[in-house]
Subunit: 337 residues, 2 copies
């Protein structure tokens, strides 16, 4: 077992798009385990857009990252040593851990990964936080009905790609918004989306109008900003807008200003609701079991974009804001033994 532990520390709060100065690799010793703790070796590290919010010193649903401390995020890892009765060496576990080779975690904050369901990396994707986010946001808030039109932005991402597929399973017409021809092809050819708009090359408003000739009943919003304004102009009576993310705004240096949406919601008796997956914590088991069934039946496909090496985690994270990934962005840090 390694005596030193590489960690990536959070060094400064970025203004606008984060750069290299935000991150610093350091080496520390692995501390002795206390009673109830588990030493986990990182196998996969998840990078997610919401982490940008934690870099700001602002009240949110999750506390800000602390300066000079390791960044933390979703990890699937393997137990190296345990002083918790429920875990033994070799177990595959998931939880919030450090951007590091190893983390010391309280056992009651860890979940065992069911290695029989699917590859363990899916515990950070389709069978983890992004899959559950898609599942509960779409079904509980969006309440899609057969024959309705569902629009999803960030459609090729870890959440959006699942949202669109669940909406198809519910009998909806699904229109995605994504940022490259490769993504457009993937969503239409492999995932069965009915239409996909390339916001980098299409006239978004015009293309949406054509793709959503019956208007928009459900909008699952991962991006915010102008793209969402365009979707909002097409909503139907009693439309549901699911606010999952606003990635286009996370790196803005000025407050986000745009057309106020209240009037549009008002004249359409429409609903807009924000959420985080934690709101549905009590129902995670239901969600994972349904998603696992759909994956096993081949009804839901997924992709992972895997970067190798802890030292590449910052670039993988920054890539999220450049629209580089299709599907779930992961960093592979070690092998399962």
């Amino acid at each position: 077992m390694a005596q030193t532990n590489r960690q990536i520390l959070f060094m400064q709060r970025p203004k606008g798009m984060p750069n290299d100065a935000v991150f610093q690799m350091t080496e520390t010793a692995i501390p002795e385990l206390q009673e109830g703790e588990v030493l986990v070796r990182t196998v996969y590290l998840s990078v997610d857009p919401y982490m940008r919010g934690r870099m700001n010193d602002r009240k949110s649903y999750i506390p800000p990252f602390e300066l000079n401390q390791p960044l933390t995020g979703g990890v699937v890892g393997q137990v190296e040593k345990s002083r918790h009765p429920e875990f033994v060496e070799g177990d595959i576990v998931a939880g919030m851990m450090d951007w590091a080779d190893y983390s010391v975690v309280k056992g009651d904050k860890l979940n065992k990964v069911n290695t029989g369901l699917a590859p363990i990396s899916t515990a950070l994707g389709v069978l983890g936080m992004p899959g559950l986010t898609a599942y509960f946001g779409l079904l509980d808030i969006g309440q899609p009905k057969e024959g309705e039109t569902v629009v999803v932005s960030g459609a090729a991402g870890a959440v959006g790609s699942i949202v669109g597929q669940i909406a198809k399973l519910k009998g909806c017409r699904v229109v995605g918004i994504a940022g490259s021809q490769e993504k457009v092809n993937y969503l239409i050819d492999e995932l069965g989306f009915d239409g996909v708009i390339n916001y980098k090359t299409d006239d978004v408003k015009q293309a949406l109008k054509e793709a959503c000739s019956d208007g928009v009943d459900v909008y699952f919003d991962n991006v915010g900003g102008d793209i969402s304004d365009a979707v909002m102009s097409l909503i139907n009576y009693q439309a549901r807008i699911v606010l999952c993310g606003q990635i286009s705004l996370y790196n803005l240096e000025k407050p986000d200003v745009g057309p106020r949406m209240q009037g549009q919601l008002l004249i359409n008796s429409a609903l807009m609701k924000g959420f985080i997956v934690r709101d549905y914590q009590d129902r995670f088991k239901e969600g994972i079991s349904q998603l696992a069934e759909w994956v096993a039946q081949g009804k839901i496909g997924y992709r992972e974009n895997i970067v190798e090496g802890l030292e590449n985690a910052p670039d993988a994270f920054l890539g999220l804001f450049k629209g580089e990934n299709i599907g779930k962005q992961l960093v592979k840090v070690s092998e399962v033994k």
Copy 2:
């Protein structure tokens, strides 16, 4: 019976605040009744902020007013003549009718007013559209819970004043926003609001912060704009924002621009929903019966601001945008015989 009928016609679509040129009084003959029709003499005419929206040529929940035709709105009137089996001369009825001394209406578009419940004018106020709007918007969308903080803007208006009182009945702390000292006194002294902010003289953001020290759980929004932005900055986790009206914006000549609310809704898992009272048509009976009970028990008070004379309807309407009325604004056109 009068042989001629004064009507107020809609002459031009206003840009910004409507002026006198929008309205024109005319005299016409009363047409012969067709089978199924009823001739109604206007007793009370309702002027309501939503009518401003109908003056624009824009898709909304209700079609635009037609040029050179009488304006229409809520009326309580008395049947002069009936060719509909359910109505006889002398009946007191409510429905959508012309801004006129008389309207010819299809009987199946009319409701009989239960004259035993309360003064008949209340069929346009606390026991009519505004009361039902308050009832369903607050209870169905706002879902106020005991001990929560409810903020209502346009608090002294026909809807806002009822919202605040229902919220009090549900055990909430109620903070109103209104535009004069007289309104502030009325809401606190007569209706039992816990706090009222005068948006014309107070620093709204600061005053709200002080009045809502536990944050805002429910915001019932009648006004929109900057005032709503200030409330939104104080919402709690899983807050509910009920969009009922946006009166501060109805006369804007430019598109309404402001801070986008999506981020704030997102980090608080908050809900924002527009509605119109018609969404709850199936439950009107329940609403009226509950409101009538509260009024009879003295648990809900109301005020009416009554202007005399059909010719004064345009001014009464315009007064809504100057914040002149406390409670329900009505125009009295004739006496009950």
